[in-house]
């Protein structure tokens, strides 16, 4: 049977009344599996992978409701109900970490979200192609470096004794600042280093969206006497708006991810007060102090809130723009 007639059959079937659906779909299941058993066979490795490495850890979150003992395993450990969550709500440290996560994330959104849009708009104004290509090549590059390397570069240029930034400050008559050890500066350093790494790269999606805007609109506007700023505001930005809204919704969906990997490479005990976030807290409590159950509870809180935000974000963008990530 050809693929085409099969598709036609499915389409007809969709139009059939609902009560005959059940038997026909069982019939179709058998037929599909029999004639395409090799395709169904290819599902097995992927499903095994999902079962072991994705769904087994989801079952593992049950230790958040236990007093987990690593020698007794999940089946042997004592159930304690919501005790770990009660501990979480009462722990001052958790509120600090939660607040840090939100504030760092919001700073990153407020400052690092608009920058790629500005970059795309300005790149669009550059007519000299070699200059444009060179700039693009340079500003995309930091995206490919690991957080360890970015952390290393920033600790080097911010070093109080021999770093580039402090050389500049002392040359201008200021006093050298120990940036990485300062609670006043640490969040700013996180935002700036994240910008350094990702802002250029983030512009790509907007550059592509600008390239999709029809040139005739710009020509018509020029004939009507519009200048570059007018065209930017009245043509380019509206042309980008759906992309911007989509990216913002997605970004807001991951507001609880303040940059765990980044902070883990850059922070130290002096700046826990301002720089410790949920991800790093779970890492320290869980693997450092071996408080498996409590840190799983914190992680579960994080996952559940993240799940709700992502689902809401995706729902909103589908309703608003008819677009979604999936």
């Amino acid at each position: 049977m050809t693929e085409k007639s099969k598709i036609r059959r499915t389409k007809i079937k969709k139009n059939e009344v609902t009560n005959s659906m059940k038997s026909s779909s069982r019939c179709r299941a058998l037929k599909d599996i029999r004639s395409n058993w090799d395709i169904y066979l290819m599902l097995i490795p992927g499903l095994l992978f999902l079962l072991i490495f994705k769904y087994a850890p989801m079952y593992g979150v049950t230790i958040a409701f236990q007093d987990f003992n690593i020698f007794q395993g999940i089946s042997g450990s004592e159930w304690v109900g919501l005790a770990n969550f009660r501990k979480l709500i009462e722990s001052e440290e958790f509120y600090r970490v939660f607040f840090n996560t939100l504030i760092i994330s919001l700073y990153k959104i407020i400052i690092n979200f608009p920058l790629p849009i500005v970059i795309a708009l300005l790149l669009n104004e550059i007519a000299c192609m070699p200059y444009k290509k060179t700039v693009q090549t340079i500003i995309y590059m930091p995206h490919f470096l690991s957080w360890i390397i970015v952390g290393g570069i920033f600790t080097t240029i911010l070093s109080p004794s021999s770093g580039l930034v402090n050389q500049l400050i002392t040359a201008l008559g200021g006093e050298s600042i120990s940036f990485m050890m300062s609670n006043d500066w640490f969040r700013a350093i996180l935002v700036i280093s994240a910008a350094w790494k990702e802002v250029g790269w983030g512009a790509i999606i907007y550059i592509a969206a600008i390239a999709g805007i029809e040139q005739e609109i710009y020509e018509a506007a020029s004939i009507d006497g519009a200048g570059k700023i007018r065209k930017m505001i009245s043509i380019t930005l509206p042309g980008l708006s759906s992309t911007i809204i989509l990216m913002l919704i997605l970004r807001l969906g991951s507001v609880l991810e303040a940059g765990t990997e980044q902070i883990l490479t850059m922070y130290n005990s002096v700046v826990y007060e301002t720089g410790d976030v949920i991800g790093t807290y779970v890492y320290r409590m869980g693997l450092g102090k071996m408080e498996y159950s409590f840190s799983t509870a914190v992680g579960l809180f994080n996952s559940v809130v993240g799940f709700i935000l992502i689902t809401l974000g995706n729902f909103t963008s589908r309703k608003l723009l008819g677009k979604s990530i999936w």
Binding site: E3, T10, S25, D32, N36, D38, I39, Y40, L43, G46, L50, F53, G60, I63, I119, L122, E125, I126, Y131, K132, I139, M141, P142, F144, L145, S146, I148, I149, G152, I153, T155, T156, S161, S162, G163, L164, N166, S178, M180, W196, G200, I204, G227, K228, T260, L264, N268, S269, Y283, G286, L287, Y292, T296, G299, L300, S303, G322, K323, S324, W326
Partner: protein
């Protein structure tokens, strides 16, 4: 039709050229500074004199790093994990994506949902860690490769690519009596080489740059990846005023640190032209589904 540039237009151009130039410079300057430090003589680095140009040019620090057995060992572990991991992950991802591109078949849509759910919800750090421990994978390089075999986002990109291949080719092959397997290997795979290349690069960069995995699962010194080795060196700096005098003696010098950063960036820079080209393509085909 040409228009005469107004004052406003010239201003916009000047601002654009200047701003983008400054941006590109600020992306470059930290690199130049690190290169200068890695190639200066030690006394100049310590006294804080080096800015953008090496003082008393010397390649000793770089030579020391690339001949150090720890660095070479970490480097080769990283190369192994990246090469083996990319091969296995691409194989798994490409294979898992194929049945999912046959949406007309019974049950496939449900399985796509099972995959997508894992993008939205995960067990979290500790359950994952305990899983690897109970599988006895900790302190093996498998712990770095196996959990990342299928990245659902990458898989969806490949699936969408399969779906975009014209149906007519497959139909005509089927009329000629080709089986599913023949169609897969003789038609779909050869046509999908470009997307495979892009995804292979995605996977390779992620594996090369991964340090959270090694940090969680690798303790033994001779299995340390390059990123983990770098972390030892870099985090020592972050804490340097906290260290006591004894530790301070054993700290890598700043020149050596800079040289290590440079030596581990070079492999990425060597393949950067390919990366740029394919990543841009990948981000545009995969980011948004209409």
């Amino acid at each position: 039709m040409k228009f005469k540039a107004t004052f406003e237009d010239i201003c916009v151009s000047v601002v654009s050229y200047l701003f983008m130039g400054i941006l590109a410079l600020s992306a470059l300057i930290p690199f130049i500074n690190i290169i200068a430090k890695a190639t200066s003589e030690e006394w100049a680095v310590v006294s804080g004199k080096v800015t953008l140009w090496p003082i008393g040019f010397s390649l000793d620090a770089l030579k020391y790093v690339v001949t150090s057995s720890q660095f070479l060992n970490a480097f080769s572990v990283s190369v192994f994990v990246t090469v083996a991991g990319t091969f296995l992950a691409l194989l798994m991802t490409a294979m898992a994506a194929y049945p999912l591109s046959k949406k007309n078949l019974w049950g496939i849509k449900g399985i796509i949902v099972i995959y997508i759910f894992t993008m939205m919800f995960n067990g979290g750090l500790v359950p994952n860690y305990l899983l690897i421990r109970s599988l006895k994978l900790n302190n093996t390089l498998w712990a770095l490769i196996l959990p990342g075999l299928i990245n659902v986002h990458n898989m969806l990109i490949i699936k969408n690519y399969y779906e975009s291949l014209p149906d007519s080719i497959e139909e005509s092959a089927r009329i000629d009596g080709a089986s599913n397997i023949t169609i897969l290997f003789k038609i779909v795979v050869p046509l999908s080489v470009p997307v495979f290349a892009t995804i292979a690069l995605f996977i390779a960069v992620a594996l090369w740059n991964d340090y959270f995995g090694p940090l969680l699962y690798i303790n033994s010194p001779n299995l340390k990846t390059l990123q983990l080795y770098l972390r030892d060196i870099v985090t020592n700096v972050a804490d340097d005023t906290l260290q006591n005098a004894d530790d301070a003696m054993n700290l890598p010098t700043e020149g050596v640190r800079s040289a290590t950063i440079i030596a581990s960036t070079v492999p990425i820079l060597c393949v950067y032209p390919f990366l740029q080209k394919h990543f841009v393509k990948g981000i545009l085909i995969g980011s948004v589904k209409g």
